[in-house]
């Protein structure tokens, strides 16, 4: 390819039609509020999650230090569809004498919320526990449900509800093995825990219900093989086929998944981090629509063109330049279906450091999607103060309104869990 062909290619790629941008107020962000001001965690709140059911939201998060000597506990609060807190002091999900409770996830089904988490109660390794909470704000399981309580680490649980019950996924080690495996177990709305089955989805398994079936995704291990895979699961968690690559070329992948009724599921994950050599190419926050057969609609997400430098249709955001003030999408994201289309919120960092490869001042950016294509091409800042806003989670009422919850890291080391109600056109 000569230089002029190359330049023409760049210009053509630049001029290629992107989805038409709608007004930025296609997404509106309400006032920021604290989920539990003056919580018991001594200024340490983290990893929020949220779900919607029976006209209200349940948000759950970690309160307190979860490292050595810590006693982190999970707390929850109910909120109205308008974002009004219904539990002034919050709810403690699983009071306990020892250990730390971490990484809660929550779903609604069969008239109850199910909170799942990893619990370091024995001081040596994690178990996966769960507890049901009624829409009236009552914890229904005085003793947590043991989803995976065997020896060795059982971690990183996720949960989805099919309207009647739940499916919990996690990764764990068995016997003397050194490789993690992915598992799933059904949990009924009455609190019955099903038999664990192996899914093949690991590490970091996540699961979503799209109105007719479950899809689990997993991936992110290794430096060279950080792809994201997906597999359909039946109601008991058994895989219905072999894993399929849905997103490739991802280093240290973390990802979000949500159901898209009638179409499939939306999977979102970042691309390359900035590096001094530019080996990984541009950064991006990427979306893939996985269809009802469990296969990606936009196949260029699973197998990107080599030498890629320009934005693909499924890219929601992009990081390329490496100068002071430039930004780079990277890390956690969240997605939900608002009743008409998917909405995604992701982390966008400002670059800093000698080589402009470090991050500072993370903001949260949102976009509505038509399938896997962004309708808000530049992204809409929904939490963009001078503090670091990270770790977004979304829940939707299915009628154009969503609850966004996230960590807000203050400069003095305190971290608060905040919320905003988002509205979509």
């Amino acid at each position: 390819m000569n230089r002029w062909t190359f330049i023409a290619g760049i210009l053509l790629a630049w001029a290629a039609p992107l989805p038409a941008a709608l007004p930025a107020d296609g997404i509106t962000a309400g006032e920021e509020f604290a989920l539990l001001p003056e919580g018991p965690g001594k200024g340490l709140q983290a990893t929020p999650a949220a779900a919607f059911g029976q006209g209200l939201y349940l948000a759950v998060w970690r309160e307190g230090w979860h490292g050595k000597g810590g006693a982190a506990r999970l707390h929850a609060v109910r909120l109205s569809a308008e974002g009004k807190r219904l539990d002034g002091k919050g709810l403690e999900v699983a009071p306990a004498q020892a250990g730390v409770q971490e990484r809660p996830r929550v779903a609604f089904g069969g008239g109850v919320f199910l909170v799942v988490w990893q619990d370091f109660r024995n001081g040596k390794d994690y178990d996966i526990l769960a507890a049901r909470i009624s829409p009236e704000g009552k914890v229904l399981d005085r003793e947590p449900l043991a989803v995976a309580a065997g020896p060795r680490n059982q971690v990183l649980a996720d949960v989805a509800g099919d309207g009647q019950g739940f499916l919990v996924v996690w990764q764990g080690l068995q016997g003397e093995e050194t490789d993690f495996r992915g598992f799933a177990a059904a949990v009924s709305a009455e609190g019955q825990v099903g038999r664990p089955v192996e899914t093949g989805m690991t590490p970091q398994p996540k699961v979503a219900w799209n109105g007719s079936q479950y899809l689990a995704v997993g991936g992110g291990a290794g430096f060279w093989a950080g792809k994201v895979q997906a597999v359909l699961l039946d109601a008991g968690g058994a895989p219905r086929g072999k894993p399929v690559d849905v997103m490739g070329g991802t280093k240290a992948a973390v990802f979000a998944i949500s159901g898209v009724p009638g179409k499939g599921w939306l999977v979102v994950s970042h691309r390359s981090p900035p590096d001094p050599w530019g080996w990984g190419g541009p950064g991006a926050m990427r979306a893939t629509l996985v269809n009802a057969e469990g296969r990606p609609e936009n196949t260029d997400a699973a197998k990107e063109p080599s030498g890629l430098q320009e934005r693909l249709p499924g890219w929601l955001d992009m990081g390329k330049a490496k100068a002071k003030g430039d930004t780079w999408p990277w890390g956690e994201s969240a997605s939900a279906f608002d009743g008409k289309r998917s909405v995604v919120v992701w982390q966008r960092h400002h670059l800093c450091g000698e080589k402009m490869t470090n991050f500072e001042n993370c903001d949260l950016i949102a976009a509505r999607l038509d399938g896997y294509k962004s309708l808000d091409v530049s992204g809409v800042p929904v939490a963009a103060s001078a503090a670091e806003e990270k770790q977004p989670a979304l829940a939707s009422d299915g009628a154009g309104r969503l609850l966004l919850v996230y960590e807000k890291q203050q400069g003095d080391g305190r971290v608060s869990v905040m919320g905003r109600v988002l509205g979509t056109e």
Binding site: G67, G69, G123, D125, V155, L173, T178, P203, Q204
Partner: protein
């Protein structure tokens, strides 16, 4: 097979001595030399997964050290009581004597772990029994708390205020603290932004050397020249309180700094030869940039620069290497020798225990610390999740 290695190494050394008169002090230039020359202990090293798991993914969680995730490119700081502190991109973790890894601080270390390979991110200070490390434009120390995250105290410099100003601790400024070294007297040496070597002692910050970028010259420290680049330089302690070693990255050479005489000398590696065309190069010059073993200043070389140095007080040797090597080598006496790796039978040891050192193949690697038993802590950026630990089965326990 393993039992015969010392004999093999001995025969090889003898063969080298016969074939290469230079190695035994004769004047004639040898025609060639093997790229890999095993240390006599090479067959005795065993590598275990120490912390992290290759299948666990990038999201951090705690637990049995070999079952945790999210350590990324990390360092190690062995403590006198047997615990090992692990600085990683999202914070600090501790591996206790029972092998359980717990988070102790969620504030990320600054500097070292962002480099391609690194060592000496943090150091134990015997004077006040605290771990010192780099903060944002400042030198900090970790203060243990029984029921919460460890406190991070600023010792010198001001967070967020970049510079190279010397003076009293509160007035001094730092730009980016890449390495922290502490000698037996509690003097702290800092590699600052890969541009200057600073010292913090008796409440005062001073600059020992400000010419770390550009040139290659031994001699008095104030006239010596180095060629560090933005990434990859590494300072470490040496055999006594007055010796430092520096991986002089873009000179491809290990430099020794004698603080008593304030002089610098090159001790291993091969700078870029003047003759660049391979056809015109000597056999020795063709070993440039090829991680070759052998006599330290004539036949040994590093690959893609000299990225790390780490002094081993038990074996009286200096672990050293370039960023693109997949063996672990040390400078012992006047020879650079392969200790771990070289046979390449395994792609890497993954998460197993008891892997013969000769078969280990960790890429973009470094020895990040050596503990009081002579066990070496290994990192590999190609598999960015945690640490391995190597030990000589004849000397140390796993």
């Amino acid at each position: 097979m393993r039992r015969s290695l010392p004999l093999t190494a001995g025969l090889l050394a003898l063969a080298c001595g016969l074939a290469f008169p230079e190695a035994r002090g004769a004047e004639a230039e040898p025609q060639d030399m093997p790229a890999i020359i095993p240390d006599e202990s090479a067959g005795d090293w065993i590598v275990d997964r120490f912390a992290g798991n290759s299948t666990a993914g990038p999201t951090f969680f705690q637990g049995p050290a070999r079952e945790v995730a999210g350590l990324g490119r990390c360092g190690a700081c062995p403590l006198p009581d047997g615990r090992v502190l692990v600085p990683f991109p999202d914070g600090w973790a501790e591996v206790d004597a029972g092998g359980t890894l717990r988070l102790v601080a969620a504030s990320a270390p600054v500097g070292g772990t962002t480099a391609q390979v690194t060592a000496s991110v943090a150091a134990w200070n015997p004077a006040d029994k605290r771990v010192y490390t780099g903060g944002a434009n400042c030198l900090v120390r970790l203060v243990e708390r029984p029921d919460g995250p460890w406190e991070i105290e600023v010792v010198a410099g001001t967070p967020g205020k970049a510079g190279f100003a010397d003076g009293p601790a509160q007035d001094a400024t730092f730009t980016r603290i890449d390495n922290v070294i502490i000698n037996g007297r509690g003097a702290v040496f800092i590699l600052d932004y890969n541009q200057r070597i600073r010292r913090f002692e008796n409440g005062q910050v001073t600059t020992l050397c400000a010419a770390l970028r550009g040139g290659l010259a031994d001699g008095p420290l104030d006239k010596a020249r180095f060629n560090l680049i933005g990434l990859g330089g590494n300072l470490c302690a040496g055999e006594d309180d007055d010796t430092l070693y520096l991986s002089d990255h873009w000179n491809f050479v290990v430099r020794r700094i004698d603080l008593k005489t304030m002089t610098v000398s090159s001790v291993a590696g091969m700078p870029k030869p003047k003759e660049w065309q391979p056809a015109k190069q000597t056999a020795r010059e063709r070993r440039y940039n090829r991680n070759s073993d052998g006599p330290a200043l004539t036949w040994a070389s590093f690959n893609s620069g000299c990225a790390y140095v780490c002094w081993d007080p038990v074996h009286k040797a200096l672990w050293c290497g370039g960023p693109d090597e997949n063996r672990f080598r040390w400078l012992k006496g006047d020879q650079v020798l392969t200790v771990i790796g070289g046979k390449g039978a395994d792609p890497w040891p993954r998460d197993r225990l008891g892997v013969p050192g000769e078969t280990v193949k960790l890429v973009w690697n470094a020895v990040v610390a050596v503990d009081a038993q002579g066990r070496a802590y290994l990192s590999a950026s190609s598999e960015p999740n945690g640490l391995w630990r190597a030990y000589n089965r004849k000397e140390a326990r796993p």
